[in-house]
Symmetry: D2
Subunit: 303 residues, 4 copies
């Protein structure tokens, strides 16, 4: 199978859905994005990367950053995050406080906002600044020092951070945020505001397809840890649509409201897609459609 031909086929098949959905509008900086864009990139274990469409156009990383903070928190065989956050799907909205209250401040998983705040707090305790740590990792894996935080998005997020501040103070009331709350939220906001394109994102996620090995061949995670992150992605990676995503796409994936999705085919490749129009659960309409076609054409669903 020629990967470039395959990606061209995928884009052709989903053409009618490009531009569908609604661009995230909770902050002005995201609401201005042109919805009629679409990009896809596939990174292979040898480090090569193929792409088509708007695959070199940067978009806002948003919740996909949660995947990288989790991986960084687990690196060097550090499993100490687990008493502070669960691994179960939540059945509630990504920014709900209800579950937290019923379960005494332990978020259900690392990919809802509450869980990600706990992971950011933990990582900050290890490395100092979680957002800088994510940036360094992305730049190294994509071999692109230009990747950076979008200051407009970060400022816009910071001005609309009441829900995340509420979550973080609530977690702190259960002693599950240990750092200074505004500082943890600031790092969380900056990691979400990183701008990246499909090419770089696919390369940055390749370690999950390579059983934990980074670009330079060094080991970031053990094969067991890598499998486990993939499992958490599959069960919890796409907000309240993880079941639907598993059902349609059949791959571990993590989405963000910037319209990006990073998916993993263990042992074979990582795939980054981007389309700004979202469905009502916050996942890219064109992105999910493209991954659906991708697994149909390759038969690379894990099921």
């Amino acid at each position: 199978m020629d990967m470039d031909q395959l990606l061209a086929q995928v884009v052709q098949d989903i053409e009618p859905q490009i531009g569908s959905g609604v661009v995230a509008d909770y902050i002005p900086a995201l609401a201005q994005v042109d919805p009629a864009q679409f990009g896809i990139a596939v990174a292979l274990p040898d480090g090569s990367v193929h792409g088509t469409g708007d695959w070199t156009e940067p978009f806002s990383l948003q919740s996909i950053s949660k995947l990288f903070t989790l991986a960084l928190a687990l690196s060097e065989n550090d499993e100490s995050i687990w008493p502070r956050v669960g691994r179960e799907p939540s059945g509630n909205a990504f920014n709900s406080l209800v579950q937290l209250e019923y379960e005494n401040g332990i978020p259900r998983n690392p990919f809802i906002n509450a869980g990600a705040l706990v992971v950011t707090d933990h990582l900050a305790g290890v490395v100092g600044d979680a957002a800088d740590s994510v940036l360094d990792f992305l730049r190294a894996e994509a071999d692109n020092p230009q990747i950076d935080c979008d200051d407009d998005v970060a400022a816009s997020e910071a001005a609309h951070a009441d829900r995340n501040l509420a979550l973080a103070h609530f977690l702190a009331s259960y002693d599950n945020i240990r750092g200074d709350v505004p500082r943890v939220v600031d790092q969380y906001v900056r990691q979400c505001a990183i701008a990246i394109n499909c090419r770089d994102l696919a390369l940055a996620g390749l370690f999950l397809a390579r059983h934990g090995l980074r670009r330079d061949g060094s080991r970031m995670l053990s094969p067991g840890q890598t499998k486990r992150i993939n499992a958490v992605m599959l069960t919890c990676g796409t907000y309240d649509a993880a079941g639907e995503f598993a059902y349609r796409v059949g791959l571990p994936g993590k989405s963000g409201v910037g319209g990006g999705i990073l998916a993993v085919v263990p042992g074979r490749c990582s795939v980054a897609v981007w389309g700004p129009g979202l469905d009502k659960r916050g996942n890219s309409v064109a992105g999910v459609a493209a991954l659906d076609r991708f697994t149909a054409l390759t038969d690379w669903s894990v099921f």
Copy 2:
């Protein structure tokens, strides 16, 4: 009926319960209070006040302050607070966030923490500093300029304010806190930290028994507004035990975790009781028992 004899009888009848219950321990400054204290005071419409026991010993006002911020917010016929807070019992703990989420940021009533934060925010918008406004009112009604905030309690509360900061940021995310969140919480904490004794509290609550008239004869609330505050006290004034309190005592009342309760017999008197030991719902064990005896002996239940 001689009021002094009556109060002596009440204290004698509840003697076995003085010292029962558990002193609030969520902040160190409250946890140190000696539980074996008890005071009761009754203020009559003519401005006279009777008391017995530790009725001149100051205690922490805590949630009883919510009653005064509400009355001050409603004064001068200002009913503009109501679209921002309901008047229904909550069925949830006083500091729960669950209901807020299901009802889009409108607290069920002014006497749960979320509702009180909204009232404080509103009052701050009118008078500048809600805590100072409460202090001024208490001093005037009790004719005691010594009433003041307990700085140790305030500092202790401020150091444990994560739950209230979470509530306030959450409300702000629904645009239902309009002031600066940390500033609103600071005022809320200071109004809760006011130290007052039974004598002064009974006098300060007398306007509710006098259909809205203050000590100096000026009108604070209309008779209709006064009845309505009494109705909210009866249905919502004692946390998740309002039904039980209505059932046993049969009077409008507002309790605080400092162990105080202010109750109202419309047209007849206001009653302040204090006993630091709390039942599991946060109401003073000896205080509720004393009010129960008081209405039994006087037959002044509203039912």
Copy 3:
């Protein structure tokens, strides 16, 4: 004050609201009622009764029956129902199952459907058939042997009983229904389907204004028990609008979706109103307005 003149004044004042609201339509038999009807009756401690409008037109008792099953369950100083049902407002819809699950099968109060099913089950265990027991009581107090169950309404309710069957089986799973579930629900449905008019309802509720004495002078409840039922009515008697009702009307009251409300002025009178149009919380629009005017004109609010 002349009571007939007073009632004429009340009706004149609320004229514009007669016919407002929406008739209950969850069963066909109720949906056919003409909304432009209104009646009011007041029963005095001497047994006399005054009324105006459609005060002799029968309507469906519905949830007001819960008040009579509770009183019958408590008669002869039997307080054994309380471990099985609470006395707190619920903060949830009258037929919600959520609270039951979080509180292990103990309904919050006797006036939500779950609580009423428990009371019916208890009463059935004492007297055999709870609905027959309510009928006997109503007939005796109103001195009207014609009062009866409306078989069309009962049949219609029975055909739409899935929600109540769900509640009852759920309670049974916590061992809080002891009788046969379909039989308990059948009795509950029949007590709700009783047809009664304002005159008879006011007379039937007079024992609550007479500190527990029945028409024939015999004691049904102690004065303390009577006060306590009045307290439960005030805090829990009008679905999720108990706070609002206390705030506007200031009397203990119990409403039903047939459009009736029974209110009590302790020591003075019982008042029955009826208007089929309901507000969105299930209380009669004209009925609440009439009681609001009644307490304004008489100054008989308990607050």
Copy 4:
């Protein structure tokens, strides 16, 4: 790899955990099972089956039956069940009513009790008796006409069916059970009470590893449907521990409180394990441990 040696290795490795956990005790018939039993069987695409331990000892199928009713409901390309039941993990207990109420009677997935009752109701509408249909299927796939319902377990379940009757009546109140409620619950109870051993269960689940083909080579489900059932198993198949199961085992699996688990390695094999001792989320302690070892030794995790 020799499968018999592999299974012997698995059993040896988990030996210390056999007998751990607590036998289900909500019905007497299950509470009597000896916890110190363990069996495992693997069925290969060629129809051969390997096993060790108590692999021919029958146990109660319980919730694993939900997998077979779902597959039967989807057979012949019938996707009409999906508007009536979701495909998302629930985040609540398997028999919770809370989510149903917030989502208007649409169960989150087919593997919680509410969802399974809807599937049973649907299947009953197609085939007459859902439990008989499951029995026929199991007998055919396992080539064992002796498989049958355990009448003691069925009677015991029927006597403790209040929670399921509550769920079913609640669903019926949303028009999401269309058949007679007690009859649907009866069929549900009988399908759960089927007794089966590991050998027969592994054979019965082989169609999920064979992309939808039955023992006789006929097509039951399309490859796409089969993948989708596997996806639902992975995200929802092990109660509130689906994330943990995905994380540890990395295979689609469906568990039951009888102590059985059926897992699928797409394209390779089906695995049935049985150990009656359950963890606090209702999954077999020894069974999960065995599957964990199985994927570790084979490297057949899907991730």
